[in-house]
Symmetry: C2
Subunit: 151 residues, 2 copies
DNA sequence: CGCAACTCAGTTGTACACAACTAAGTTGTC
DNA sequence: GACAACTTAGTTGTGTACAACTGAGTTGCG
């Protein structure tokens, strides 16, 4: 006896509900971040920097799983907005250090309320949120491991 | 006693793990769909059409939660690739009917194996897959309901 | 030292997403 | 029948994602 093969129906697929959920959440953030004049990926970079004021582009790339093709223009926009500085490291001229300006640090005040609003919109208990978060991380790790092993 | 406010740490947030998971899965599809010369959103459109050969652009938009700004150029590319036809409906000239060409129908044969590979990469049991799928759908509905109620 | 291999950020090109808008067609109401 | 309100697809502009590539800088090794 073999396992029933997965169907090709749109609604049956986890990947589609994942894709829909991700876009719905990003859409919610769009409204919430309107006031801060940030996009969602820009907000993620700011989160990383609020946590630790100085990061190399490479470190941000690892933290967010984004490459320089995405980060370089995004960081340039944050710089133009006056939220971050970009300086070449003096002891390794290949690296660029991203650091928060005062304005960038200040913006955190406007962001503190956002996670709670998102949690409310998701209509899940803290326990459910946490279970889902770890299930998602596990899924990401499995998929990325599979991808790495099937170059 | 009040609930502890959600933190602003990147790794604590469900939204970020959701965003990462979605991108990881899309990345896996990129490899799997390389052979069919489809992108992931194009594949979703093809899934919808393999299920039901003829759809209005509007119906596709509802099924995939995508607007014409995304669908119109995407469908044009599928047309150029010879996979779909686009005709104005004769009884309502505003609507455009999308239908599969023979080549578009044939492509399904190359796609049938994909869901099983994805399921394998996700390393989840069929039960877990299904639980996660419904949890994701619920999340999407909650978030969209919240968005709708907070215009 | 010399220089090939590697690292890092940035650029280019393609394809989404989505807001805001346009243009053409349809419907409801008087 | 006239016409405002609405529907539908498409266009424009901005900002991701990501592959492929470039160029400057660093490191390891003979």
């Amino acid at each position: 006896m073999t396992t029933k093969p997965a169907s090709l129906r749109l609604d049956d697929q986890l990947c589609f509900s994942l894709y829909s959920a991700s876009r719905a959440v990003t859409g919610l953030y769009r409204t919430l971040l309107d006031d801060l004049e940030l996009t969602y990926p820009q907000y993620l970079v700011m989160l990383a920097l609020w946590d630790d004021d100085e990061r190399l582009v490479k470190e941000l790339g690892i933290a967010l799983n984004l490459d320089s093709g995405t980060l370089s223009p995004l960081l340039k926009r944050l710089e133009t907005a006056g939220l971050v500085r970009r300086d070449r490291r003096e002891d390794d001229e290949r690296s660029v250090r991203i650091s928060l300006t005062e304005q960038g640090k200040d913006l955190k005040k406007k962001a503190v309320g956002i996670p709670d609003i998102v949690a409310e919109a998701m209509a899940l208990s803290p326990t459910q949120l946490d279970e889902m978060r770890s299930a998602m991380s596990l899924l990401t790790d499995s998929v990325n491991a599979y991808r790495a092993s099937h170059t």
